[in-house]
């Protein structure tokens, strides 16, 4: 029995305070995944809160057939899609507001928040990528999910995940190279 399985069983048996450990472990990656879909940090944080709550309530039904991490990310992705559906109309209004105010959309994302040039460049690239590509590469590299786990989380086919991952990695590299130039070549 892994440490995490043991922890999950203890939470299910009533030691609810231990849920905090899982929250601390997965909250940041969950937020990043939700953000890749929603492009709004505040909303992404609300979605992640709701996702953790759903996971907590459904924990007694967790079958241990996948890892808790995969299961949680699936909830995060589904909840994010649900939130996207709800605010489709509002989203176009927000974009219009940005255009009217003259604020470039990249500056309303988290690139502005951190002030670190490389981080800003990376996040700007991710913001500009296709949603599916950004989501798949973040689940793969950040979330350390296998291809089959990504299939479970996103509902995409295995071949689609492979193609999306390949394209996402290529686009990520190309766009980052355009932005960072020499600094990226020094890294490689």
């Amino acid at each position: 029995m892994t440490e995490e399985t043991d922890l999950l069983k203890r939470i299910i048996q009533g030691e609810t305070k231990l849920f905090r450990i899982l929250v601390e472990k997965y909250k940041d990656i969950s937020l990043t995944v939700a953000y890749s879909l929603l492009k709004d940090k505040e909303e992404a944080e609300d979605v992640v809160q709701d996702s953790f709550l759903k996971a907590f309530r459904e924990l007694p039904r967790f079958q241990f057939q996948s890892t808790f991490k995969s299961w949680l990310y699936r909830i995060v992705v589904n909840t994010s899609y649900h939130a996207l559906e709800k605010r489709k109309i509002r989203r176009s209004y927000i974009i219009d507001e940005r255009i009217e105010s003259g604020v470039p959309s990249s500056e309303t994302g988290y690139g502005r928040v951190l002030g670190n040039e490389r981080k800003s460049a990376i996040r700007q690239v991710l913001s500009n990528m296709k949603t599916n590509e950004a989501l798949v590469i973040q689940l793969y590299y950040l979330g350390e999910q296998s291809l089959n786990e990504i299939v479970e989380i996103t509902g995409m086919s295995l071949s689609n995940v492979k193609v999306t991952l390949h394209r996402g990695r290529k686009n990520f590299g190309d766009q980052l190279r355009n932005l960072m130039g020499q600094e990226l070549d020094d890294l490689l």
Binding site: K17, D28, L31, Q49, L53, Y141, R169
Partner: protein
């Protein structure tokens, strides 16, 4: 771009939640009492519904008593009316809980 570089770069894309994220979540998880602050509008609606629930049946009953056909003039409409009110109340309650 090789896998290792992508992985390292992706780590820099990691967002951080706000400071009180975990505390807020754990309060909800541990079921600390959440107080529902019903708006004035909702209170008026509920109050009015209760008033109607008490007054209307009395009027109906009085009217029904004039021709003696209680089933048609009173009981059936009353049951329908109460069902509608209960349904509305439950929907309102559900909407408040999801906020």
């Amino acid at each position: 771009m090789n896998e290792k570089v992508v992985r390292e770069l992706m780590k820099e894309s990691l967002l951080r939640t706000s400071e009180d994220f975990t505390e807020n979540l754990m309060e909800r998880v541990e079921g600390k009492p959440v107080t529902y602050d019903l708006s004035a509008k909702v209170k008026i609606l509920l109050g009015a519904s209760l008033m109607v629930l008490l007054v209307v049946p009395l009027i109906w009953f009085r009217l029904a008593a004039t021709d003696g056909n209680f089933t048609f003039h009173f009981f059936i409409p009353f049951i329908l009316f109460v069902s509608i009110l209960i349904n509305r109340y439950m929907r309102l309650n559900e909407a408040q809980q999801t906020v």
